[in-house]
Amino acid sequence: MPKASPQTSRHALTARIGPVAVAILLVVLLVLPHYLDNYSLRLATTVFMYCVLAWSWNFIGGFVGYPSFGIAAFFGLGSYVGAIMLTQDMIPFWLSPACAAVVCLVVAALLGAPILRLRGHYFAVASLALGEVFRELAMNWTAVTGGGMGVNLPPLRSSLGTDSQVFYYMFLLLALVTFAVTVAVGRSRLGVAFRCIRQNEEAANMIGIDATRVKIIAFALSAAFPGAAGALYASWVGYIDPSDVFDIIISVKAPVMALLGGVGTVAGPAIGAFLYLAFEEIVWRNLLQFHAAVLGLIIVLLVLFLPNGFVDVTRRRKILDGAS
């Protein structure tokens, strides 16, 4: 039995506090809409959406270590699947995120096999190109997607509450599901397989891990949740077009948020999503004309000075304390 060190007992403490903290947070989030105005509700909803994107990227980029720049591809694909199915009256609203998730899961699983044979730079470029291809398809396949004119969706007008409130809870639910899957994966054999592949893919194969299959699972997970988010997004904003939902900045935001909070951790992406939105809001409010440049500056500073994110900063402190 390994001896309990200061680190492990601290870890045990966090493990006990963790669920309690999450539960408290959850209660707060559930009652928050009663206290917020519409604008703040929308901000909170956006945070939840960003959490989903960051956690999704974390599966393939953080856990497995394959730097995907393809989140936008599936966010956009999900948006269009949701929008088209809704405007064609194929499904009721509450099914659209699930349908979008399934489509994205299947597409990612099919495309994953050839793409995941690539490593590093080539994989990054391939995932980037995917988004571009999808965008161009959406742009040109006018009969189905409306081309550059985009797709208009009718407002929700649900009996359950205002549109803002309904979407708040739906995005919160999606974020919770993504969080739950992240935690479950982190603790499971699949999570061990992810980590082994990231640290040494050859060795992982040698100890019996089917790296190709595992990578495809990670890639599919990283596609399904953005797909669902995209479908919700389409209904939420009421209008989508190719350059909006396939915008490459979505593909960059996801890893940046994970970087901010801590790549490959469980809480990191959510922390990063929150921080990123905070930055975005401040910049939007005050520097409209330069918001892209300032966002760029934030990204640059982050990469240069804090490549391990905030979560790692605290962890480093713990290790130092344990050593003294």
């Binding site: 730079h121 990054a124 571009e132 440049a293 760029g296 990204i299």
Partner: protein, 288 residues
């Protein structure tokens, strides 16, 4: 007949495209950095050429002589200050960094120059040639010829000069280059600066053919990607093959499916190449 015209158009364009990709390929091949700034740097070069033309009457065909040293200095400073920090770091870091830098540069250009399209309009444009019924605009021919000239100069520099050989040495085997006494840090800076200089030159030549706006930087970057993957990284031969190939693919594609499909087609080609032979036609070097 139409087919041949399209092939010729494709080659004319392709020659120009080679110039777009050289700098990008060099930076990726030697520094192992995907330079997301590249498109914006080309646009910057176009703007400098444009304003030099409008205010000083300097022809964009000649402007590279002045633009290149300017952009070289800019690139050198940028590498030395910012990019140096991330040399050797994984692609997630380097790509995100250059993406962020590109956001800054692009935004500044939009603020400074506005997004309105500018055109270089010659008072006395070069004549259009006709050879056996094939139309060859003089401007494009000149641009292509100069692009090839620049490529040739670059090729000679890389293979004949001491610095060029050092660059190739670093590209092939960084650690061995260090042992041979090469100042790798300086080589990185020079390489990046050279890449930026060529981007500026490409921009100057492009300004003759295409309208100028910061909005274009994404498209240009995309082309650079396709050319490098198609032709193969880190070699001039690869950039030439890739550039010409893309020019032809775009021309034929536009003829077959319509000009709005060229981007889609070129990116599908990129994915196909990655799936089949990631190192590209010229192959050889492929950093992971």
């Amino acid at each position: 007949m139409l087919f041949v015209q399209n092939v010729v158009n494709g080659l004319l364009l392709g020659g120009l495209y080679v110039c777009i990709a050289i700098g990008f390929s060099l930076i990726w091949g030697v520094l192992n950095i995907i330079n997301f700034l590249h498109g914006s740097l080309i646009v910057l070069g176009s703007y400098i050429a444009y304003f030099a033309f409008v205010y000083f009457g300097l022809s964009p065909f000649i402007a590279p002589i002045f633009i290149m040293p300017l952009m070289f200095a800019f690139g050198y400073a940028l590498q030395g200050s910012v990019l140096n920090v991330v040399i050797g770091k994984p692609v997630l870091i380097t790509l995100t960094l250059t993406f962020g830098l590109d956001l800054i540069l692009n935004n500044l250009m939009v603020w400074g120059f506005t997004a309105n399209f500018r055109r270089v309009v010659f008072e006395h444009p070069l004549p259009t040639f006709e050879v056996h019924g094939i139309v060859i605009p003089g401007d494009r021919l000149m641009a292509m010829a100069l692009a090839f000239l620049l490529t040739l100069i670059f090729f000679l520099l890389l293979n004949r000069s001491r610095i060029g050989r050092a660059i190739v040495a670093v590209r092939n085997d960084r650690d061995a280059a260090v042992l041979m006494g090469v100042n790798v840090k300086q080589i990185y800076a020079i390489t990046f600066a050279t890449g930026v200089a060529f981007a500026g030159a490409a921009g100057s030549l492009l300004s003759v053919v295409f309208p100028i706006s910061p909005i274009n930087s994404g498209v240009l970057l995309g082309k650079a990607f396709v050319i490098c993957i198609l032709g193969g990284l880190g070699s001039i031969g690869g950039a030439v093959i890739g550039g010409l190939a893309l020019g032809i693919i775009e021309s034929i594609g536009a003829m077959a499916a319509g000009p709005e499909y060229t981007v889609l087609i070129s990116f599908i080609v990129l994915l196909a190449v990655l799936a089949i032979k990631p190192t590209g036609i010229a192959g050889k070097l492929g950093y992971e």
